[in-house]
Symmetry: C2
DNA sequence: GTAACTGTAACTATCTTAGTGACAATTAGG
DNA sequence: CCTAATTGTCACTAAGATAGTTACAGTTAC
């Protein structure tokens, strides 16, 4: 599996932006919540910004806020933006063409892999940042939004 | 996501063993089909052997063969044996407990992640090495088994 | 006895990732 | 205009994972 946590961090950041709704959040503020370095957050917000999910402003009083409604941001969109393409890596070197198995295994596996991956992506496609936000607020058992 | 190709290689090896049905295959033979080093194959066969999927014999005339029917080996079993546990890595450091979002994000995400992973695993659970073998043989458009 | 195997340890090269410091550019506000 | 706050981005490091490789002792068939 892609051994990176960028999807997790991106969803965390977007959920936080949803919770503070409208008030711009600095990379430093988000980084404290995620418990990482602000540069890591800025890198991810950069990708989300180019895709139109967030708007970011430099300078004093700057920061990032959502550019779309939380209910319009699907987790699948975020997942793909974070560079997650193939769930199952193929052979590092192409298999032997001199073998019945080597000749066809990649064709067969790519069908299987894509079916499995689609099943997973279908679940992510049915969930939005709003769902995450609501579940967090439900767990907190209060309608207030005092994130930090 | 799993960043290693061991699952692919394991399925390749098992499919090859299914195709040559009964005739023991050496790690060198399998490695030529996969296009890798025999030690890489032996490492994987070692795991499959401990799990009872293959039987391996050392010495001259040795090699590996399936210990179960191809139809009794599910791809999910192989997937898990290859060390694939969590599809979606969480934060590298635990998020801040001082933040509403940081406090609950992992609880919420672990539910979402497990749902998505289960959907993927359900597909793998419905497929066996026999399915792979049959698809390969179908592509080869011949009932003969001359793998190399 | 010899040749053909496996199992496994040890090592290397390569890649990916997260994290970090540094600094120019931008902006708000006095 | 000056200052403080903030982003974007580059360059680097440390750590970890992976595939590949060599080597060699142990096992087996003939």
């Amino acid at each position: 599996m892609t051994k990176n946590s960028r999807f997790t961090v991106a969803v965390h950041a977007l959920a936080l932006l949803a919770i503070v709704r409208g008030k711009p959040a600095t990379s430093d503020y988000i980084a404290r919540s995620v418990n990482t370095n602000p540069v890591v957050i800025r890198r991810i917000l950069g990708v989300l910004g180019k895709a139109g999910l967030v708007e970011t402003h430099p300078g004093a009083g700057g920061g990032s806020e959502l550019a779309k409604k939380p209910s319009d941001i699907s987790l699948l969109e975020v997942y793909r933006l974070m560079g997650n393409v193939d769930l199952f890596p193929m052979h590092t070197q192409p298999p032997s063409e001199d073998c019945v198995c080597g000749r066809h295994i990649q064709t067969v596996l790519s069908g299987v892999f894509s079916e499995a991956q689609q099943a997973m992506e279908h679940v992510l496609d049915g969930l939005t940042i709003e769902d995450i936000e609501l579940q967090i607020e439900e767990l907190e058992e209060s309608g207030l939004c005092e994130p930090c």
